[in-house]
């Protein structure tokens, strides 16, 4: 008999602990008879939730047969269809989409750094809301860097998942890049001087200039540049990896939070103001 996993009604960055509690055992478990992913209670999903669900399903169903119990709420199911979640995890035929009901979100699965995908995602978002000067190249820079980090350091078996969404009511764009690799703390701990640091400290360190897990090379500019861009934009950068969730608000010190369940990989979550000038490197 396939084992059923029931998901909580909120799959969002704010409810990451709950989502991880539901899914980490699923990722680590041995499921020989297949699995039923029960999304029937799902009521709200954000870009973090959608990318995480996609990566989880992809990983689990690469070993065993997966079945999905779709959300009871029709608009939530429509949302998952429009985003392309079912298609992305290879069960699209069972839930043929009707005409998409909205078009403000996109989900991409990648295995290597492919600029065309990023351009496609940015075109898509720019159709929803024209960007201020410099924002598009800044966002492109951030996505390229996050994906390059995934490709170089994560060792993720299921590739990376990228999503972007425009929220008209809040005038925000959210971008999420997620992998199920070894995570930032584990990567940095390969350097002996960082071995004893806590996960939250390591995540903060990773966003400082020149900090890298490959010290014999001169690297470590990517995350610090992204952090500067997001802050100049008045946006928020959140990194979730290992036991750490660290949020970098634009005008305050970083907020650290320990996750109840270690995140098996890395999530970078950016919330940006599309109508704010984005040429941060000229500031």
């Amino acid at each position: 008999m396939p084992e059923a996993y029931t998901f909580y009604r909120l799959a969002t960055a704010g409810w990451a602990n709950r989502l991880l509690r539901d899914t980490v055992p699923l990722l680590e478990g041995k499921l020989s008879d297949g699995i039923i992913l029960d999304l029937s209670s799902l009521e709200f999903v954000d870009t973090f939730g959608i990318t995480y669900l996609a990566a989880c399903f992809h990983k689990v169903t690469s070993n065993v047969r997966g079945f999905v119990r779709p959300p009871r709420k029709r608009e939530v199911n429509d949302y998952l269809l429009d985003v392309g979640l079912y298609e992305a995890i290879g069960i699209g035929d069972r839930f043929r989409p009707r005409k998409p009901s909205h078009d403000r979100v996109d989900l991409i699965h990648i295995n290597e750094l492919e600029p065309l995908f990023i351009d496609h995602l940015l075109d898509f978002l720019e159709q929803m809301q024209p960007f201020e000067e410099g924002l598009r190249p800044s966002m492109r820079m951030a996505l390229l860097e996050l994906i390059q980090n995934f490709a170089e350091h994560s060792g993720s078996e299921v590739g990376a998942w990228v999503s972007g969404q425009f929220h008209p009511q809040r005038n925000r764009i959210t971008l999420c890049v997620l992998d199920l690799g070894r995570g930032i703390p584990n990567a940095l701990r390969t350097v002996s001087k960082y071995r004893r640091y806590r996960d939250t400290r390591l995540v903060e360190l990773a966003t400082e200039e020149g900090i890298t897990s490959v010290p014999e090379t001169s690297r470590g500019l990517g995350l610090s540049t992204i952090k500067r861009f997001v802050r100049t934009n008045g946006g928020v950068l959140r990194l979730m990896t290992g036991e750490a969730q660290v949020t970098f608000p634009p005008d305050r010190r970083p907020e650290q939070k320990a996750l109840e369940m270690p995140f098996p990989g890395t999530v970078a979550f950016l919330s940006l103001v599309p109508t704010k000038r984005g040429l941060f490197v000229l500031e």
């Binding site: 190249p137 800044s138 820079m141 390229l144 001169s218 500019l221 990517g222």
Partner: protein
Amino acid sequence: MKRIEIKKELGSDIVTREHGEKLRRLVEEGWEADSVTVDFDGLQVNSVSFFDEAFGQLALLYGEEELRRKVRFEGLDKFDQALVSDIIGSRSREARKRAMSSREARRRAANS
């Protein structure tokens, strides 16, 4: 004078460190010439990794002043120009810090 046409040498999708490393080697091959012109021909690069591997590492090695004297950029858009300057600036600060700490280490060794 050496001229490097990026599209011809590396193609249009230049975003990775590997591409940056190839460009750095091409620039270094022409280092003995009076100047090296790198022509981006309107390409949008937007990649920290690429620019860092190409020009950030040159700034570490030769210093900002020599790099700026030697290398000329053509066809870089406004954002990429600013990004390159930002990266060269970061790596130059790093080079100065390294030089200071190695001077300090030598001074300590001499005193002991």
